[in-house]
């Protein structure tokens, strides 16, 4: 487990900023304690200082997970957010998409969000903007990338994809073995 290098931090922040923008600051600079990002097994964990200290008692080869896994660095050194980061993305999300109850399940099975299932969307969402997907009862379901801007969303036909699926809470089951 080690702190992220500058490059890594940058890539991660760039990715994160697609979803929560400058609210990353709130993650980095928290009033309720010191939190930090740590790299372990190519995965980035968001850990409080307290847990970090405790975790030093565990040798790195035995350590499976500590804190919250935000995502992992791929072999090509890109950063890929995991669904476990949703807890931190959802409250700070800049752009949100609400999915109608009918398409909730579809989304949770890993499908994209279609126009027909789009219940609500934040205005001024740009194309390819990272969005957090909610159910109509405001339960965060996952996140993805807006395939269409808000204006386009109004026009497109019901079966066209509005949000590209990236991660959903269904992965807690589907990707049980890989999530940490």
């Amino acid at each position: 487990m080690r702190p992220l290098t500058d490059d890594e931090t940058r890539t991660m922040f760039e990715k994160l900023s697609k979803y929560i923008g400058e609210n990353i600051k709130l993650l980095v600079d928290r009033p309720d304690g010191t939190y930090c990002f740590r790299l372990h097994n190519d995965r980035v964990y968001y850990i409080s200082e307290r847990i970090l200290k405790i975790s030093t008692n565990i040798s790195h080869d035995k350590l499976v997970s500590v804190g919250t896994c935000f995502g992992k660095f791929t072999k090509t050194l890109k950063f890929r957010l995991h669904i476990t980061a949703l807890d931190y993305l959802a409250p700070y999300a800049k752009f949100k998409v609400w999915v109608k109850p009918g398409q909730e399940q579809s989304f949770l099975y890993g499908n994209h969000v279609l126009k027909s299932g789009l219940g609500r969307i934040t205005e001024n969402t740009a194309q390819y903007q990272g969005v957090v997907v909610y159910s109509m009862s405001d339960v965060p379901l996952g996140f993805g990338v807006a395939a269409k801007s808000t204006q386009e969303c109004r026009r497109v036909d019901p079966m066209s994809i509005v949000v590209f699926h990236q991660a959903d809470i269904g992965e807690f089951i589907r990707a049980e073995d890989t999530l940490t």
Binding site: P3, D6, T9, R10, F13, E14, S17, G21, E22, I24, K25, V28, D29, P31, D32, T34, C36, F37, E49, K53, S59, D87, Y88, A90, P91, K94, F95, K96, W98, K100, P101, G102, Q105, K115, S116, L118, G119, R120, I121, T122, E123, N124, Y134, M136, S137, D138, V139, P140, T150, C153, R154, D157, P158, M159, F172, I173, E176
Partner: protein, 1247 residues
């Protein structure tokens, strides 16, 4: 040619008919038949138009013949109609075409030709300057863009004047016209159409008269704003259904149903459990709406689905939300993030679960629909509600017991809510302890036994089969139980039972879906299953199909509760995990076999048993659902017991406990007696009386206690025999058996259950050891087995065969394990012997009480016994520790959670043990002692436990003495600083990424209430709150004065030029002009000054002089204007005045309470002084006093009283004053003239 209207035609008439009919009178040119139809398309009126070439005579004839005649069932009415408008149109066009005058064209052409000669083409003359006349055409002018336009002579209608309008002069008005698109030629009349061409867009559709179908939104009355969310959800789903394409409809409706169900669930629970917090309450409220509207909505949706046009309307429901939209659940989310174990979290989790469970609901409902329909209920909602109840209860349980909480999330993560339900169920059934025990057992199993796993898998398969078979029954049972319960007991009871039923259902569900996932779950389930079926069977026997279900339910409930502990008991008994597993497996196999057989066959058993048993179940359920704590206790007991006695007794005890608890719950008053009685039963061999007692107080529970307790006792006794082989116990058994002859049937029933529930082991033990003595119990079991054998094995042959195979294997394993267990038992017995011997059976019995929660049941001198039991227990504990660590650990855990003195004591002891063990571990190793040692430790810790890098004292720096103290302190800060550095770095990167300036919040984001802010002048931040004086700071008095002088001296240059005044009034006026305030002040005080001033000088000048002179131009100031004697006085007084004023200032400054403010205002004081001194100097004698006593209020001998009146009296004689005035007047006049002249001159110079 005439056009006729023919009305009153019958609908069957065709154009040809008409043609034929009217063809007699003339040549029919055109027939037009119109039929009016109503909404359904049924024609109600038809008429026609016909064009006839007909003569008038013929027409008249036609009219007489055909008008008002009957034709094909209708009376024809003929009238002459107006010409068809199309014809008219064509005619008009024709006429228009004919009329077009040819000379016009000619004229134009000639004009054009003549123009052409002049170089004009098509009224355009290129490259001509506007205004040039067209040669040869006087009245044509070239205008802008080379257009040739005629010069017009216009005559105003009112006047005679004729205006010549030359377009070239007004050409700037002309705009170039686009080459006008040639208007489309007239469409020929025959091509005219009714169709409106247009796009597919909304407006054109509307033009065509097609309006989109309207979706009426369901009108919802919201009770509270907080409900909005839920209702919104509902409506949204409805809308969704409306919008959804027809393919989706079925699924969406399903979902919709589910949705509507989910809200309904909490409703009952809200009434039932009060531990719910707001959100759920909101839901509850909303359900009132949704309840009523469910049907409505469903119908609406069904209608709408028909009318829905597909995805067209979808657009309308796309909601766009501003950036600042915040979902309402964020609170919950955030709390979740913080991992705060609070209710909201639980609730939110519940919400999630609701969703998930909805799925299961669906499954359930789909499965159970048939049975439900049979039952003629409105069951869906009820079911759901009960389900939610279960959930809620579970949640509350989880809230109560942290264990449960922990377990639940764990499983959630792994298996989601479906899994969760079982876990929580297990909590309910077995207490939280159960879950733990299971987990531990699971761990053990997985850790150790490969065969075990295999067998478990096999079992799973078996179980699946069973569950499949039992599925059908469960729903029915459930429904029945619901039905039955309310009449017999309170609502809560029924609810509780329903809950339990649902749990059972849930277990089934799990079984079907996740049967292979969890060993433990399966084990438990299998138990439950087996029990269920057992009880079912045995109650089926007693009654007819309809009621038999009820009995089944009760039995099931019974068995469930009773068996829930059983697994634990099994575990308890088998000290090694293998044993446990084997025992469980064996049990299962047996049970399964029995169950299947029993399911089919029906034997005659007493019909009275089921009902009481049922009640008992109710009670049990209550206990399960309501008293988690009590469960814990019982669980503790159960767990402890096994150590001492081995599992069977534990089982029985648990049983008993639950029973007693049930009693407690049903009636608080009964609790004590129930407890006591139960104790009695257990303690005293001849407990039949006490049993009776229990029966009496708890009438509501009736059969429950008797039915179960005897069985328990039997088992217990059997166990005891097995263990101790004491004659007393045997006797006891016998006596009990005799006493309960009357309840024998129930006994047998219960024994059936027990037999099935308890392990094979047990049975075998009983058979082997207790067979000679306990003749009664054995027969009972035998009878069971005989029953089993009797039952036809028709349906599940295959399964049976498989099971039998499995069972055989298991039996073999079991026997092995029994042997081992017996060995261990002996060991334990040996350990226990010393303590046990004196009390023998009683001692054991007492142990139960010692762990009872409430010590209220000490009526039979139990109090001394607990102590012994405790000690006993400790011993056993230690023994256990030696023998079997996992079990003991498990126990320990449970013990920790348990309450009560005994347990505390126990706990302490254990702790001590641990301390002893661990004491050495935590001793500081000698090399790490002291400060240097600490440092060494730190060094070592840096490299970890790797031996290669083991550091010793050599590595410690020699400069310890310097660093020691600070370093110790800084060890923490080091990390902190690292982290903060990292944070800074991160923020830097972040700012790079975001292109914004991100700065770390130094003290965090603190909220400051501005209203509570107290101004502290010493704080730098608080300067923001000060109102700054914008007056520029001046270096010093002197510098300022110099400046003033310069400013004042400037006008002196012009002094010579203008006037020679004895008084350098010029200068004075200049100053006065500059400083109007001073002048004003002087004017104000004019009256007062009058007295003090010398007469020669007019007051204005004097005062202005005073004001300007004294303060601003002290160097050039001349005192000649003052009275001679007063000069010095005024000067001194003025000086003094100045000083005094400063003092006053000081007082004012204290008001402002800012030292720095004082500094800054020092200069300001100066400025104010300038105005003040003249005032004081004007009335030199009096003013000082007045200024001294500047108080607003008057004293008795106030100076102002003396001075004030003077202002109204004449100080001098009137004549003097007149003289003075005259003198002054001349000077004033002079002054005035001077000014007048000056003004005049100014004017002149300007001009």
């Amino acid at each position: 040619m005439k056009r006729l209207y023919i009305g009153g035609l019958s609908h069957s008439i065709t154009e040809k008919d008409l043609k034929d009919r009217f063809g007699k009178f003339g040549k029919v040119q055109d027939v037009e038949l119109r039929t009016r139809r109503d909404d359904e398309g049924v024609p109600y009126k038809s008429f026609g138009y016909i064009n006839l070439e007909i003569t008038d005579a013929d027409f008249r004839k036609c009219m007489t013949v055909l008008n008002k005649s009957k034709w094909k069932g209708g009376m024809i009415q003929i009238e002459q109609a107006k010409e068809s408008f199309l014809q008219k149109l064509s005619q008009e066009r024709q006429e228009a075409a004919d009329k077009t005058p040819s000379p016009n064209v000619d004229h134009k052409n000639t004009l054009l030709e003549s123009m052409k000669k002049a170089g004009v083409e098509n009224f355009h003359m290129k490259a001509a300057v506007p205004g040039t006349e067209v040669p040869g055409h006087n009245d044509w002018v070239v205008s802008k863009f080379g257009r040739v336009l005629p010069v017009l002579n216009l005559k105003c209608p009112g006047r005679n004047k004729i205006i010549k309008y030359d377009p070239s002069k007004h050409s700037h008005n002309i705009k170039k016209l686009e080459t006008a698109v040639e208007a489309p030629g007239l469409t020929p009349v025959s091509m005219l159409t009714w169709e409106m061409s247009g796009g597919d867009d909304e407006i054109s559709k509307k033009r065509r008269g097609e309006f989109p179908s309207q979706n009426t939104h369901p009108n919802k009355k919201m009770k509270e704003s907080s409900i909005n969310v839920v209702i919104k959800e509902d409506t949204e789903t409805g809308v969704e259904i409306c919008n959804g394409s027809s393919k989706k409809v079925s699924t969406t409706i399903q979902k919709y149903n589910r949705e509507t169900k989910t809200p309904t669930k909490p409703k009952v629970t809200a009434a039932h459990t009060k531990s719910q917090t707001e959100p759920s309450v909101c839901v509850f409220d909303s359900t009132d709406d949704s309840d009523g509207e469910v049907g409505k909505l469903v119908t609406q949706t069904s209608i709408l689905v028909e009318t829905a046009e597909g995805g067209n309307n979808n657009e309308d429901y796309l909601e766009v939300v501003g950036d600042d939209y915040t979902p309402k659940t964020f609170l919950g989310n955030q709390q979740k993030n913080k991992n705060v174990h609070q209710l909201p979290v639980a609730l939110s989790r519940k919400d999630e679960e609701d969703y998930d469970s909805a799925d299961t609901d669906e499954i359930l409902s789909s499965r159970t629909t048939a049975s439900i329909s049979e039952q003629d209920r409105p069951p869906v909602v009820e079911k759901q509600s009960s389900v939610t109840q279960i959930k809620n209860i579970k949640h509350t349980c989880s809230a109560k017991a942290k264990k449960a909480d922990k377990i639940v999330p764990k499983r959630l993560v792994k298996k989601l809510a479906k899994k969760k339900v079982p876990s929580s169920e297990s909590d309910d059934d077995d207490d939280s302890e159960g879950g733990e025990a299971l987990t531990s057992s699971e761990a053990e199993k997985t850790g150790k036994l490969v065969p075990g796993k295999k067998s478990s898998e096999i079992i799973n398969v078996d179980l699946d089969c069973i569950s499949l078979s039992s599925e059908d029954e469960n729903p029915v049972k459930k429904a029945l139980s619901k039905k039955k319960n309310p009449p017999s007991s309170d609502d809560t009871d029924s609810e509780a039972s329903a809950d339990s039923e649902y749990e059972a259902l849930f277990t089934n569900c799990q079984r079907l879906e996740f049967s292979l996932d969890d060993l433990q779950q399966l084990v438990k389930e299998s138990f439950l299953n087996g029990q269920d079926q057992d009880s079912e069977d045995h109650e089926c026997d007693s009654q007819q199909p309809g009621p038999s279900h009820v009995s089944e339910i009760s039995g099931e409930a019974h068995s469930r509760d009773s068996k829930a502990p059983v697994p634990l008991a099994v575990k308890g008994k088998g000290n090694t995990p293998e044993e446990i597993l084997a025992a469980i497996l064996g049990d299962k196999g047996d049970e399964e076999r029995k169950n299947k057989r029993k399911n089919k066959g029906k034997t005659t058993m007493c019909s009275s048993t089921p009902l009481p048993a049922f009640q008992g179940t109710k009670g049990l359920y209550k206990t399960t659902s309501l008293s988690s704590s009590s469960w814990q206790c019982s669980g503790d007991i159960g767990l402890k017991r096994p150590d001492e006695k081995e599992g069977k007794t534990e089982v029985s005890q648990k049983f008993f406990k639950s029973d007693t608890k049930g009693v407690c719950k049903s009636s608080a008053s009964i609790t004590v007696p129930g407890h006591s009685t139960s104790e009695d039963v257990k303690t005293v061999p001849a407990s039949s009386k006490s049993l009776d007692l229990t029966k009496r107080p708890s009438n509501s529970l009736d059969g429950e206690v008797p039915a179960e307790t005897p069985a328990l006792k039997k088992k217990k006794t059997a166990q005891a025999e097995k263990n101790v082989d004491s004659p007393v116990l045997k006797q006891k058994l016998l006596t009990t058996a005799k006493n309960k002859r009357d309840v024998l049937v129930t006994h047998s029933a219960s024994s059936c259950i027990h037999g099935s529930s308890s392990e094979e082991e047990e049975e075998e033990d009983v058979r082997d050891i207790a067979a000679p003595t306990t003749s009664w119990s054995v027969p009972a079991k035998k009878s069971q087995q005989t029953k089993l054998s009797k039952k036809p094995q028709s349906a599940d042959r295959l399964v049976d065969a498989k099971q039998q195979q499995d069972n055989q294997r298991r039996l073999a394993a079991l026997e092995q394990k029994q042997k081992e267990a017996e060995l261990q038992k002996k060991l334990i017995q040996g350990a226990l012997a010393k303590v046990d011997a004196p009390t023998s059976g009683q001692g054991k019995q007492h142990i139960k009480f010692s762990f009872d929660e409430d010590g209220s049941d000490d009526d039979d001198g139990v109090s001394p016994v607990p102590l012994t039991t405790k000690t006993l227990f400790q011993d056993s504990q230690s023994d256990e520790d030696d023998e079997d660590s996992p079990v003991s650990q498990k126990d320990n855990r449970k013990k920790k959670k348990s309450e009560g003195l005994a347990r505390h004591k126990l706990f302490d002891d254990e702790d001590e043990e641990v301390d002893e063990e661990d004491g050495g571990r935590f001793l500081i190793k000698p090399q790490f002692e002291g400060e240097s040692g600490a440092k060494l430790m730190r060094l070592q810790s840096r490299v970890g436990t790797d031996e290669r890098f083991q550091m010793d004292s050599r590595f410690i720096d020699s400069d310890e003495e310097d660093n020691d103290v600070p370093e110790e302190e800084s060890s923490h800060p080091v990390i902190e600083s690292e982290l903060s550095e990292e944070k800074k770095k991160n923020l830097n990167i972040l700012s790079g990424v975001l292109n914004i300036n991100v700065q770390p919040s130094v003290k965090g984001m603190k909220f400051r209430d501005i209203s509570t802010l107290i101004y502290d002048p010493t704080k730098d931040e608080h300067t923001a709150f000060e109102t700054k004086n914008d007056q520029p700071k001046k270096d010093s008095k002197l510098a300022r004065k110099k400046k003033r002088e310069e400013a004042a001296k400037l006008p002196e240059v012009s002094k010579d030029i203008y006037y020679e005044v004895s008084v350098n009034l010029k200068e004075v006026f200049g100053a006065a002009e500059n400083e109007t305030t001073g002048e004003e002040r002087a004017w104000d005080e004019e009256d007062k000054e009058e007295a003090g001033l010398s007469v020669e000088v007019d007051p204005v000048t004097v005062s202005s002089l005073l004001s300007s002179g004294e303060s601003e131009v002290p160097s050039t100031f001349k005192f000649s204007f003052f009275g001679d004697e007063e000069n010095t006085a005024t000067e001194t007084s003025a000086d003094k005045e100045e000083y005094r004023v400063q003092l006053l200032r000081g007082a004012k400054m204290s008001w402002q309470a800012d030292p720095r403010f004082q500094d800054s205002s020092d200069e300001e004081d100066k400025d104010e002084e300038q105005t003040v001194p003249p005032h004081s100097s004007a009335i030199p004698t009096e003013e000082p006093v007045a200024s001294k006593k500047a108080s607003f209020f008057f004293n008795v001998d106030d100076v102002r009283f003396i001075e004030g009146p003077k202002a109204f009296c004449r100080s001098d004689h009137l004549e003097d004053q007149i003289e003075k005035w005259k003198e002054m007047r001349t000077s004033l006049v002079q002054e005035y003239r001077k000014k007048h002249k000056k003004a005049k001159r100014r004017l002149n110079t300007r001009k």
